[in-house]
């Protein structure tokens, strides 16, 4: 099993983590169009490549950010939100 480095707990096996999806900017719900909102809710940039993602270390309840290439599954770094 793959290892992922939790900024609090160090390298841990991936089974201790939950995937939280890509970190995406929410459009302003007050001003955006219906279709822009629907795109935000449902559509994804599904093409392979580097992404910033949410991961959650379940045993310790830690949310972290992982920079991961979805093509190679290689994580280049992990950190807590705001510590980038």
């Amino acid at each position: 099993m793959k290892l992922l480095t939790c900024p609090i707990n160090g390298p841990r096996p991936l089974e201790e983590f939950a995937y939280g999806g890509e970190i995406r900017e929410m459009p302003d719900p007050q001003t955006c169009s219906d279709s822009a909102w629907a795109d935000y809710v449902f559509h994804r940039d599904g093409a392979p490549g580097p992404k910033r993602e949410w991961w959650y270390h379940v045993p310790s309840g830690t949310w972290l950010v992982a920079e991961r290439d979805t093509a190679s599954d290689v994580v280049s770094r992990t950190y807590l939100l705001g510590e980038a």
Binding site: E22, A38, H43, D45, D73
Partner: protein, 413 residues
């Protein structure tokens, strides 16, 4: 002894002619180009030629025929879905499957075994009832059965699942079948090829030529071709194609893994699925147990295998069949699945005129092979979505009109 076998021995012409015509060069233009030489793409080519007379068609395959999810799935065919749209679509598929070996004159080993979706909780029983009632209403043979019926069909099954997840009942779907997956691609490919369709392996699409919102051609590793109609049938690669086309879809790629044991004499004569235990299993005609579980939980564009998958699956299989502890797993593999938010496919027109999607096939694509080919061929030829795929249109997300198949599709092979 079937006379076909005698032919092998007596005919001087054996071996038989090539299955597919494989021209050396692409033509400068085609009436339609199909991206993806898997079951779906080849079926679409077949129905385009057969039902719409469109034979100036090229099928482009980056690897080898059927090398994607067609050759990686666990070959289960069923129509016991949850939504009326899903049930109608897959029921039409099963009806095509039933005569496909004869139609393509290739033995696909279409084997109707019956399909049990086991329920271990009251809430799972409710879902089984829901599916059964929708199925019956749509004329599909499904019923909720009790433990006695399950035990009679699979006497070897530990109904208590090692004491931890007793089986309360199941959704029984009599038409549930398995088929020889590779042969499906070969059969459609051969039949399409016989009608004039050109098939190109090792030919990768590198870009789409889009002008004024209309498809004009396809760039490939072997050069550019002109065409006004392009079908993308590339489960696992859909986001790469839509990126070339310049639009997003809800599709995200997750690996789906499977494994197979060494062969043993036949004993398991049905297809078993347990959502709670994340297991599905059937025994192939070679005698292997073909097994799978749920999707990998995160996005990866690769077909790597993981150990925890096969460990978890083994543990659950042994809950059901403790006596298999000594049976060995020979091989594990993975495919890349197009996942959608509502566990239903994405089929039909796109924001780019002349570009059609046959995508979002998640874990439910193999069983849809013939009907997806037929409906996509109709959609391509007429530029009007076939009525059976209305519920699967890409626009449904923008319209907030999802087709909720999650209850029937997750771990529901």
């Amino acid at each position: 002894m079937p006379y076909q076998l005698l032919k092998f021995a007596l005919s001087k012409k054996h071996p038989e002619p090539a299955f597919f015509r494989q021209p050396a060069e692409l033509k400068p233009s085609y009436d339609a180009v199909i991206i993806g030489g898997g079951g779906h793409g080849l079926a679409a080519a077949y129905y385009l030629a057969k039902e719409h007379g469109l034979t100036n068609v090229a099928v482009l395959e980056r690897g080898y025929l059927g090398g994607g999810n067609t050759g990686r799935n666990t070959t289960i065919i069923r129509s016991n879905y949850l939504t009326p749209e899903g049930v109608a679509f897959y029921d039409a598929s099963v009806k095509l499957w039933e005569n496909l070996s004869q139609e393509l004159d290739l033995n696909l080993f279409y084997s109707t075994r019956g399909h049990f979706t086991l329920a271990h909780t009251e809430s799972a029983m409710r879902t089984m009832r829901w599916r059964a009632e929708v199925n019956k209403q749509m004329g599909v043979e499904s019923e909720v059965v009790g433990p006695d019926v399950i035990q009679a069909a699979v006497p070897e099954l530990d109904m208590s699942c090692s004491g931890h997840a007793p089986i309360l009942g199941a959704l029984y779907h009599k038409p549930g079948s398995v088929a020889r997956h590779d042969a499906v691609a070969w059969g459609f490919g051969r039949a399409a090829s016989e009608m004039g369709v050109e098939i190109f392996q090792n030919t990768e699409v590198t870009g789409l030529d889009i002008r004024n919102g209309r498809i004009a051609g396809v760039h490939t590793s072997r050069g550019t071709i002109k065409t006004g109609k392009v079908l993308s049938a590339v489960a696992g690669y859909t986001p790469r194609i839509t990126k070339m086309a310049g639009f997003d879809t809800p599709i995200v790629i997750h690996p789906l893994q499977a494994c197979v044991t060494e062969p043993m004499k036949p004993w398991l004569n049905t297809i078993l699925v347990s959502g709670s235990l994340h297991v599905y299993v059937s025994q192939s005609s070679r005698g292997e147990l073909v097994m799978g579980a749920s999707l990998d939980p995160y996005e990866v564009h690769a077909t790597r295998s993981t150990l925890d998958f096969v460990e978890g699956l083994s543990s659950h299989i042994l809950d059901m069949f403790p006596f298999l502890a000594g049976i060995k797993v020979v091989r594990q593999w993975a495919g890349m699945a197009d996942m959608t938010p509502d566990f239903a496919p994405v089929m039909g027109k796109t924001p780019v005129e002349g570009l059609y999607l046959d995508a979002g096939w998640g874990t439910w694509g193999f069983k849809a092979t013939p009907i997806s080919g037929k409906t996509m061929a109709h959609t391509l030829a007429t530029d009007k979505p076939h009525e059976l795929i209305h519920g699967f249109r890409l626009d449904r997300f923008r319209d907030f009109e999802l087709t909720g198949e999650k209850g029937a599709a997750s771990v529901g092979h």
